[in-house]
Symmetry: C3
Subunit: 311 residues, 3 copies
């Protein structure tokens, strides 16, 4: 693996899932593969799960880890040819090359603005790091994608499915704030690569990017979508059409014990209790959210391992 | 040891002190006991000594350490059953369980509000972590207690006492800001467990929680309290009765070379010079404050070691 | 080496440069020399290169590293005898001694105010750490000096010079903000210790501290200064005479492909593109800025190694 910025960077998804599950049983088996190698984690946004699981995954492989909350340091310039006499004190061209001097792998978290659709869609942060860095880049959630979360979800579904081709539903849920589309996009990408019967359900107006969802069944009746579901993956996202807006709250779209039925409940966390899903869902045995969080470590670890093997 | 959130978690205090003193002579003796184990340190408040000594103690035992200043990330919800549509983005139920996926031990610093006495007394942060985390919790100073400081103080008193049962005085001292009761509480707990002649002295109005001090001699005349003292442990705290208030400054309660006499001077640091104690006290050989700070490492190391042995 | 707070702490510069170049070829040769030793890095100001390269250098030597952004924690008092009843919550006397309990080496970054010339010149932060700490101090850029950058520059010039005694020019360049003199000062110090033909060029009004530049040729005509230069080291600094002011912007002093000619271009980074130097300079093969950044690791590593050998 030369980088991991989208699920497409994985050659053989099923094999990678299987290897991650093996790694989970013996996480320190490859504890010298990362010896004397450094992972630099750059955060443009706050992180709990990604921070801790990525750090753990790298250290399980024997890597050194440096964590930099770059927004505390200074703002980077991403435009070509700018006269940099305003607030940005360093250009991505230098920053990416410089960090490459100190790291064998650079992992980056950079959320979207949710204000400028074209700019967010351009993935200018992660793509400029790919362009100018001299070492592999790992996406720790970018403007439009979250492939480490998707891989953790793939592991979790593989571990908990009881039929060969489970029915999986991605359901929009309410939220007080405007949230990115990255987790939903990554999950849709994933579903296209797994042997599943996949449906998306959301209120009208909350359509995702149709270039991503074009081959997917979309059912606007949440109740109907949930019928016979094995897994219900829940996530809020703001409007994509009326970009970044959250005009309609649709609070009746909250996941309840009743509408969940016997399905397994999945969410990437953090989750707003009694807004996205009610307490009874999260406190039930049907909830897989903590298992998903745990699998973040092994998803990242298999990715870092495959990159280290290719250095 | 299953957790360390109060001195009561220590089975045999004297034995633990002795083991810590041995560890101090050979700090790397158990450098493989923490191999492939992770300590996650969560800070809801700033830290210098606790941060550095805890990190060092864990690494002396071979552990990996992740430090998270969680207030920079997001605010947690601690109430049961809340509809989380306001500022809190994650519930302690998920946060504690999730962090448990990445850590063998979780250490937490969470200061009191000094505004809501009942809420502070409930120790809702540390107690909810104890309730919901799946791994042992270590208290790096909570709303009402600071047991790692107390254990470091126990080591220091043991090292410097010259009589079997020394006279120890805990003295209130002036301070420009309203401070918590945690260090004072922890020290009173400690004194009840050591072979000492113990007195508390403070101006009227600065009574500590009487459920903690009920078996302790309280002398409001500082001069009289200090007579023949071997150790004078100094600390400011705000009013407990008129909760969190600092109406009366009592600047004449500052520790001076003259009122210290031959007693050893102790303080947990940071200390305001010429407010809490004058320069001559801190610059004299009678001051043990740097020794106390040094013992923070070995207090924490013996605690982590005993927890690791019980995993 | 007992400390590294200025280039004068290096006994034999040429030998140190040669050793650093050897280390660069085999960075893990001394990976056990720092075993069970801790480097505490204290940042009073933001850092990217220094943070990552110093952490890497220390870990290459097997050290543990703790990073503390101390301005987030609390403000330190540096004056002797102060009654600390205002904002500072800890005196340098305690802070330096306490951190010494947890570290074998303390590295410090503390920029100048650029408001109080005498106070900045006194280097009160780094000098008080030298005075009160019980372990060696490393300067990660202080009010008036940046000796780790200078040593990295020494390595870079040694690697890229093609004549025995190259012509090196230090050129002032424009910048929208008021910047310190530390990098320029450190480079002048360095030039006095290397076998070079050295010239400083800057607009009138931007004279550096004459006690540092007194033996140096100063040429106010940038074009003339650049004639036959082998290396052009560029840096903005604010006025020293009219301390910290940047009244005159002299935008025509930007380094261009044309005025650079065949010289190698050097800068400590971060750099404002098309303000300090134009894109064509930074994107050309003549630019050594990334090599300089890379050499920061080996400069720091040889310094830490020599300090560790002297503990």
């Amino acid at each position: 693996m030369k980088k991991y910025t989208s699920l497409n960077d994985i050659n053989n998804l099923q094999e990678t899932i299987n290897k991650a599950i093996l790694l989970k049983k013996d996480p320190f088996k490859f504890s010298s593969i990362g010896k004397n190698k450094t992972l630099v984690m750059l955060f443009f946004n706050a992180s709990l799960r990604t921070r801790l699981s990525t750090e753990k995954a790298a250290k399980n492989l024997g890597m050194h880890v440096s964590v930099l909350n770059i927004s505390n340091a200074w703002s980077l310039e991403f435009e070509d040819g700018t006269v940099m006499n305003l607030t940005s004190s360093e250009h991505i061209k230098e920053a990416a090359k410089v960090i490459s001097q100190y790291a064998e792998i650079i992992a980056i978290r950079a959320f979207p603005s949710l204000k400028n659709k074209e700019k967010d869609a351009s993935e200018f942060v992660i793509n400029n790091f790919i362009k100018y860095a001299e070492v592999p880049i790992v996406n720790m959630e970018s403007a439009t994608d979250h492939p480490l979360q998707a891989l953790a979800d793939a592991i979790t579904i593989t571990e908990f499915k009881t039929v060969k081709k489970p029915k999986v539903v991605l359901s929009w849920a309410p939220h007080p704030k405007a949230l990115p589309h990255s987790v939903a996009n990554a999950f849709v990408h994933l579903m296209h690569k797994m042997e599943v019967d996949f449906t998306i359900t959301h209120p009208k107006g909350y359509e995702l990017d149709t270039s991503i969802t074009k081959d997917t069944l979309i059912e606007h009746d949440q109740h109907k979508a949930f019928e016979n579901a094995d897994f219900i993956y829940t996530k809020n996202w703001s409007s994509y059409l009326d970009y970044g807006k959250t005009t309609n709250k649709f609070s009746n779209w909250m996941i309840t014990k009743k509408n969940l039925g016997n399905a397994k409940f999945m969410h990437c966390l953090p989750i707003r209790r009694n807004v996205v899903a009610e307490d009874e869902v999260l406190d039930s045995d049907n909830s897989l959210v903590i298992k998903q969080a745990n699998n973040r470590t092994y998803a990242t670890q298999i990715v870092l391992k495959q990159i280290l093997e290719n250095l």
